[in-house]
């Protein structure tokens, strides 16, 4: 399961036979989750090609940080699909077990080159870990 990005911040990917593993890194938990969301949506469209015109907000309660990662990504994916949006900017705030996040993007249009559809975040290879370089959040997403 080699990582494809060895940097200590930002996002990267790791291999999974059928789908794709996403990695988010940051100096704190919320930043790592934001990076994991960026990794997820970058599979669907080149972030630089997406305008941050529309805002989407999500909120959830989860005490288990690993399940919180899956929940965060799945809420973003579900809400983005429901509204026909592709996303590029992500912000997350945590207050104990309560998480509030927002994302910005735009509606899909023919000018955006399409990547592959990420349909959900799974619990496979789901891990949130802290190290000297910061926090790393990873899981396999289903495409």
């Amino acid at each position: 399961m080699p990582d494809n990005d060895a940097s200590t911040s930002g996002y990267g990917y790791f291999d999974h036979d059928a789908d794709v593993g996403v990695i988010g890194r940051g100096d704190r938990l919320e930043a790592a989750f934001e990076s994991a969301a960026a990794a997820t949506f970058a599979l669907m469209a080149e972030p630089a090609a997406v305008r941050a015109d529309e805002r989407l907000a999500v909120e959830f309660v989860e005490g288990d940080v690993e399940l919180a990662l899956a929940t965060w990504l799945n809420l973003l994916l579900g809400e983005a699909r429901r509204r026909g949006l592709v996303l590029r900017e992500f912000h997350l705030h945590r207050d104990g077990e309560r998480w509030r996040g927002e994302a910005r993007g735009e509606r899909w249009h023919e000018g955006i080159e399409r990547g592959v559809e990420v349909k959900g975040a799974t619990l496979t290879a789901l891990r949130v870990s802290c190290g000297p370089g910061g926090v790393e959040a990873r899981c396999v997403v289903d495409v």
Binding site: G78, G115, K119, L123, D142
Partner: protein, 477 residues
């Protein structure tokens, strides 16, 4: 996978006996040593985890195309007895509930397509919505969607998508009984309102194929196919609705495991006893997801017919068969000489009822059920028929595809979409795609050798080869 760990049951089945003090069901990996050696170690780890789930009957099994999945390996099969604490697992069904393949038999042959390939490819791509973010031309209300979830392909036929004759050749007659649309969340339904009649992305495709080789002339006659005949295969599933159901139940069942008294060897195997409120809720929602997929493929069938009628007038397209490969089905199977009602999970595995099975339409009662092993867009696919012996070997299950041999990311590093499209065009295969990235990830070289998988499936006694189909036109999401 280190096959030195495994003990041969026969030439095409291997097992790993439990260690001292280890409590689990047996496992069986189907395939030859070479296929199994090429499988990721995770396949063994995952199938061992499945063998530890409550109420499992017989062995936890991996088909010859197995690869690392979620909880279950893709290509995983396991049956559970509700009367013996058996479970239903959201991870054992997978996210794309009832993902499957609809195979259409046309009245055309390869020669009829000559000179029309590009027009057909362009027209299919124009009329079959494919790719991330692309909605269909059908926009449903929540009330209409509930009717889809209750009635499956029957709903689609009532709306004018296809013919009543199609229904007999769809698994379960085109409708999963016991669907409970009310168990599907509003979010899942809202995700689907604009997605009926869409192909999706990833490994989903619509492919025009021709019969290149017939292995079993008698079964081919029963399937109504002959040398050089054009067929169409449509591979897709329950789209956003199925994924949302899978996601929601996976998380809720993972959290409920402790309360339900289930020690999960892997959280992705989130499950509930079949005879529990949680299990019944999941089954009701999952069956609604199956109906969504069956209706979706029925709509796509009609859209395909419309395109063929415009480009190749006078052509007829009949449903050869429609079979899913991400399901949990209640079925009767003989165990130790006794019939038992079991819940069979097939995660990336195809139901493969043998000759004489009462659930088969009369047309296939003697040949066995059509089984489809979808290959890559550059190599081809196999049509097989279920066997009698598959019942005892694998609860009547078989492979569902070639199976990946390379991750998507590795494929991206190796190929470019445009290069793949051009190379295949040079080989006479017309690719139309919404995503060049997707084409690179799905490059033929990223898949195992479909001939090897199909032959191993036959030699393992899971299904027997009927015909090999070569691609001519492929629409990728």
């Amino acid at each position: 996978m280190d096959t030195a760990l495994l003990h041969p049951v026969d030439g095409y089945a291997f097992t790993l006996p439990p260690g001292a003090g280890e409590s689990r069901a047996p496992i069986v990996l189907y395939g030859d040593r070479e296929l199994i050696a090429d499988m990721d170690d995770k396949v063994l780890e995952q199938i061992l985890n499945v063998a530890r789930l409550p109420g499992i009957v017989g062995a936890a099994m991996a088909m010859p195309d197995a690869h690392w999945g979620y909880g279950f390996p893709i290509g995983g099969v396991a049956a559970f007895d509700p009367e013996n604490g058996g479970i239903v697992s959201a991870g054992g069904v997978g996210f794309d509930i009832s993902c499957g393949i609809r195979c259409l038999r046309t009245s055309l042959h390869l020669a009829d397509l000559a000179g029309h390939e590009r027009e057909l490819a362009n027209s299919l791509f124009q009329h079959i919505p494919a790719g991330v973010g692309r909605e269909g031309r059908i926009r449903l209300s929540l009330r209409e969607l509930d009717a889809v979830l209750a009635d499956g392909a029957h709903w689609a036929v009532r709306q004018g998508y296809g013919q009543a004759e199609d229904l007999a050749f769809i698994e379960d007659g085109g409708r999963a009984e016991g669907a409970q649309p009310e168990r599907v969340s509003p979010v899942a339904k809202e995700r689907q309102l604009g997605e009926m009649g869409t192909l999706g992305s990833g490994n989903h495709y619509l492919e025009v194929q021709w019969v290149d080789r017939i292995f079993d002339a008698e079964a081919a006659r029963a399937f109504g196919i002959e040398q050089d005949m054009l067929l169409v295969s449509i591979h897709c599933g329950s789209r956003g609705l199925g994924h949302q159901i899978g996601t929601e139940f996976l998380l809720s069942l993972a959290k409920a495991a402790g309360r339900l008294g289930i020690a999960l060897p892997d959280r992705e195997l989130a499950c509930a006893p079949i005879l529990s409120p949680e299990g019944e809720q999941y089954l009701g929602a999952m069956r609604a997801g199956i109906n969504c997929a069956l209706a979706n493929r029925q709509i796509l069938t009609q859209l395909t017919r419309d395109v063929f009628a415009r480009v190749l007038s006078g052509s007829r397209l009949e449903t050869l068969f429609d079979v899913s490969h991400n399901t949990c089905k209640e079925e009767s199977h003989e165990v130790a000489g006794q019939p038992r009602q079991l819940f069979v999970h097939r995660k990336g595995a195809t139901r493969a009822f043998g000759p004489g099975h009462p659930a088969l339409p009369e047309r296939y009662r003697a040949s066995g059920q059509p089984v489809i092993i979808g290959g890559s867009m550059g190599t081809g696919s196999y049509l097989l028929a279920g066997t009698v012996e598959s019942e005892a070997r694998a609860f009547s299950s078989a492979s569902h595809g070639a199976g990946r041999q390379m991750s998507r990311h590795a494929a991206l590093r190796r190929w470019q979409g445009r290069q793949v499209v051009d190379e295949l065009a040079g080989a006479g295969i017309h690719i139309r795609t919404a995503s060049m990235r997707g084409v690179a990830e799905e490059a033929p070289g990223a898949y195992k050798d479909v001939h090897h998988v199909a032959e191993a499936t036959e030699r393992a006694g899971l299904a027997r080869r009927v015909a090999f189909l070569r691609p001519k036109v492929c629409v990728k999401g």
